[in-house]
């Protein structure tokens, strides 16, 4: 167990007409060295989980234990060590990148976390390479980047200080098709080779199917269902919460309704073989 939510409630604009509850009495455990996905629509409160785990927002009630730190609404001592261990990649560019150039952006984390600053000149291009960008981007202005590049720089700015927990909001938002596959490989490598705990907050069930170890479905600030990736095979359940089942699952379910008898797989090549065997 690396993260534990204990009856957590999170509200914003308390005691005003705009008061809103994002998380309601949430209790859950996130295991280490696994890829855990939280799926839900925009009103489900999934994006607030990252802020709470990273302690950039404080809980309204309840408590969250992350490593040896507790977020119970009170000031956390040595919060920087917690944040260095929990890298958060925000979806919104304005809440993530604020420096002028890519180089400044990447150096920011290692400078203020004081993480291997002497190896700055090596780590910066390496972080860019890891997300599929070259050193030519270092002097580029952030506002001249495309959405896909902004997402990659955001991820690199977190990977550079080597956090043990990586949280990514909408990992595939803005990415092109090839980038999606590269990201899948990168996340798998981070999990298997570097023993990272990865948390994905997303609506993209296509991306997480075949990648994730655990899935939590959230609706209106609460967990409505929890299980392995098999949870995504229940199309009716997924549809109930304003989400879409993975395309591959929809195809298999549709074929099985027509008596095809296909087994669930996340690999398209395996599916083609299975269809071929069924047909002949």
């Amino acid at each position: 167990m690396v993260i534990k939510f204990d009856n957590v409630t999170y509200k914003e604009n308390i005691m005003t007409p705009l008061e809103k509850t994002y998380i309601k009495n949430l209790s859950l455990i996130i295991n280490e060295n696994k890829i855990t996905s939280f799926i839900g629509d925009s009103e489900s409160g999934i994006y607030k989980l990252g802020d709470l785990i990273n302690a950039s927002s404080y809980v309204t009630s309840g408590k969250i234990k992350v490593l040896n730190y507790i977020n119970d609404g009170r000031t956390i001592k040595k919060v920087n060590i917690l944040r260095m261990n929990v890298g958060l990649v925000k979806l919104n560019k304005d809440e993530m990148l604020f420096n002028k150039t890519v180089k400044d952006e990447l150096e920011f984390g290692i400078k203020y976390f004081k993480y291997k600053t002497e190896k700055k000149s090596v780590r910066v291009p390496d972080a860019l390479k890891l997300v599929g960008l070259t050193s030519d981007y270092l002097e580029k202005n952030i506002k001249d980047l495309t959405l896909s590049e902004i997402r990659k720089v955001s991820l690199a700015s977190v990977l550079i200080f080597n956090p043990s927990i990586i949280i990514i909001e909408e990992p595939t938002y803005g990415l092109q098709n090839k980038d999606r596959e590269d990201l899948k490989k990168l996340l798998t490598m981070l999990k298997t080779k570097y023993n990272k705990t990865i948390i994905l907050l997303t609506k993209d069930t296509d991306f997480i199917y075949g990648l994730t170890d655990e899935v939590f479905i959230m609706n209106k600030g609460s967990i409505v269902s929890h299980g392995g990736k098999e949870l995504l095979e229940n199309e009716d359940l997924i549809n109930t919460y304003n989400l879409k089942a993975p395309e591959i699952i929809r195809f298999i379910n549709y074929a099985n309704k027509k008596n095809a008898n296909l087994t669930y797989t996340s690999n398209i090549l395996d599916l083609i073989k299975e269809v071929y065997r069924n047909a002949f």
């Binding site: 705009l18 304005d94 809440e95 604020f98 420096n99």
Partner: protein
């Protein structure tokens, strides 16, 4: 997101003040300025203060936002009292001057909290449209005025975002002592100003995309209608002006 409100920012709730035409609001402010500047009658100022507080209450914006504003400038009031005392003014005059400032600040806050920047731009353009014959670029003027008004709220919002994202990557602001907070805030100031100016440029570009044009009714059609509440509000302001004229014997 809306927990911290700053002078000049918009508070998006549904109240009858929010629905009043921005031109009516600006004309009402202009009418209110006449007795505020001209009159030295205590009773009139007390009534105007009461009326302003009623409007603040009906705006559905939490009253503490309005009072925070006054609390923020409390030292200015003390300084003003010293100045008035040093000039030998009597207590009643001092109270009237303070009431004038309070009414003005709260009324301006009311307008900014209940009028979105787009509506405000529309209101300023429409209010100045009688001067169209001078062939001045009133759209640009309205844009500059609104940019000046909304600059500081935008700056503070951007500062909050920069501080939050800097905190996520090692430069913590929220769990620090006052000296460290000053250091963090000042070191992020350069980026904050750059991002705020970029945002203003983007907004200008977005306005152009929406074909912002003084002679067309495009946006905020529901709030830009002149309704009964607007007329009623205007009538009350006219009564204040009429009382002021009567009191000064100008008729």
């Amino acid at each position: 997101m809306h927990s911290n409100k700053y002078f000049g920012s918009y508070y998006p709730v549904d109240s009858f003040i929010h629905k009043i035409n921005p031109v009516i609001k600006l004309v009402a402010l202009f009418l209110l300025l006449i007795p505020i500047i001209g009159s030295m009658e205590l009773k009139l100022h007390v009534v105007m203060l009461f009326f302003t507080v009623m409007l603040l209450y009906s705006s559905k914006v939490p009253l503490r936002f309005y009072f925070n504003m006054l609390y923020g400038i409390r030292y200015l009031f003390i300084l003003l009292l010293f100045l008035l005392a040093s000039r030998g003014l009597d207590l009643e005059t001092a109270v009237i001057v303070l009431l004038k400032i309070v009414i003005l600040i709260e009324y301006l806050s009311l307008i900014f909290y209940t009028t979105s920047p787009n509506e405000l731009k529309y209101g300023i353009e429409k209010s100045l449209s009688p001067f169209n014959f001078l062939s001045l670029n009133l759209g640009k003027f309205a844009n500059v005025v609104v940019n000046i008004i909304t600059f500081f709220p935008l700056l503070f919002v951007t500062e909050q975002k920069v501080l939050k994202s800097a905190s996520m990557r090692g430069l913590d602001y929220y769990n620090q002592d006052i000296l460290s907070k000053i250091y963090v805030a000042s070191s992020s100031l350069k980026n904050t100003f750059r991002l705020t100016f970029e945002r203003i440029k983007e907004e200008k570009f977005a306005s152009t995309l929406r074909m912002y044009n003084v002679s067309k009714h495009r946006t905020n059609l529901s709030t830009n209608k002149i309704n009964f509440n607007g007329i009623f509000l205007l009538l009350i302001h006219l009564i204040f002006v009429a009382y002021y004229i009567y009191e000064r014997g100008l008729l």
